[in-house]
Symmetry: C2
Subunit: 232 residues, 2 copies
């Protein structure tokens, strides 16, 4: 059905964009902020910053990836359990459920006379009836079964890709402060480009999108740096 296809493509694309955004914005920001924070302490060496950064990327990508997996699974389980409840209700409380279908159309200002054939057509078939309640009364779309796995992989890879950007300069620099300078320059540019592209994809102003991600990265690393300085 054309309508359903349209709606699903729409959703699938924005779900993947959302996963890349979730993974990459944290991946670019947290290892960057952590590395900058550690550079501000007395004990730091380039090697220690790289170790801490890589440990963070490993932990963060696994935690966020599996977290995304479970969130998608939870959505799906939730959908299934709500669906089972609706199926039970069409059997146990058919009058109430029929009236809830009518309520949806009453909300659109239809007369009782006009809505009777619609309600009758929908409630004539149990699957159709439950589908209608799920989507139109409760606002659920049926989740894609491959969603959880795809979501996990997308989030984890985006996190790793993002995290290597701020860390690479520390690996290549002999001096830790040279590492910090290059890391900050490269990461702030990457954050801007990421926010700009994200803005384009999601339909907000690209320049605003770019500045937003730069500000987030800047705030997070300033907080990390400040806190590390304060207690070291």
């Amino acid at each position: 059905m054309h309508t359903t296809l349209h709606s699903e493509q729409h959703f699938e694309a924005s779900a993947t964009v959302r996963d890349v955004v979730i993974g990459m914005s944290d991946g670019l920001t947290v290892p960057f902020a952590l590395a900058a924070g550690l550079t501000g302490t007395m004990a730091a060496t380039s090697k220690l910053v790289v170790i801490a950064g890589l440990a963070e990327i490993a932990a963060g990508s696994i935690a966020m990836g599996l977290g995304g997996y479970l969130a998608a699974r939870t959505d799906r389980d939730h959908y299934e359990s709500e669906r089972q409840r609706e199926i039970r209700e069409t059997v146990e409380l058919p009058e109430k459920e029929t009236d809830e279908v009518a309520d949806v159309f009453r909300g659109y200002g239809m007369s009782e006379e006009d809505l009777q054939p619609v309600v009758k057509a929908i409630c004539a078939d149990q699957k159709r009836w439950v589908d209608f309640m799920m989507r139109f009364e409760l606002g659920f779309d049926e989740p894609d079964p491959a969603r959880a796995r795809n979501s996990a992989i997308t989030i984890a890879l985006s996190y790793i890709a993002g995290g290597m950007v701020p860390l690479t300069p520390y690996m290549l620099s002999a001096n830790i402060f040279t590492g910090l300078s290059f890391s900050a320059a490269v990461t702030l540019i990457a954050l801007f480009v990421f926010g700009y592209v994200k803005g384009k994809l999601t339909g907000i102003a690209p320049l605003r999108g770019g500045l937003q991600t730069v500000v987030i990265g800047g705030l997070a690393s300033a907080a990390a740096f400040g806190l590390a300085r304060l207690i070291s």
Copy 2:
């Protein structure tokens, strides 16, 4: 309207639960894994682990909180731009849009004769028409305006609350390995309780939920520890 209220409460609750889950699962996991990873290196002292952990919590809570804020804002902007497009289309392509309303009902097996009065009633009012297309054709629910701010605060506080659990033992222990032992014990218990409660709230088996979060935390910290050992 009762129907709308029901559906919105439903959504609002699961959105908040989702935010707590997003913030707390990472907050419990990433600082835990980072601290465990650093303990495995030569250079580590309790103080350094605490500094790195607190820097990570500051960075992670800000990055995830603001990330959640922007994600909710992006959803809202996306909703608004799609809505504007639908409004334009009802003016510029009224026949096509009218037919798309009819398509929704054709999908429910209604006859052409039965669906005419329904379609006519919906398309008689532009706001109602656009509302119908947004929800029933495109599957959008109107986002709550306070969502972005609430989402940011919920995610950030959940991250901080989660992150202090694995870090506190290192603050209280003179010896770093004592810190690690207590941190692992306390955090694995907290991960289990968190997963158990999350399971109860989201309707999945609590025991399975508890084991899942323990496995995620274990995998993330094993990866961080292994990587840190490997390169130190």
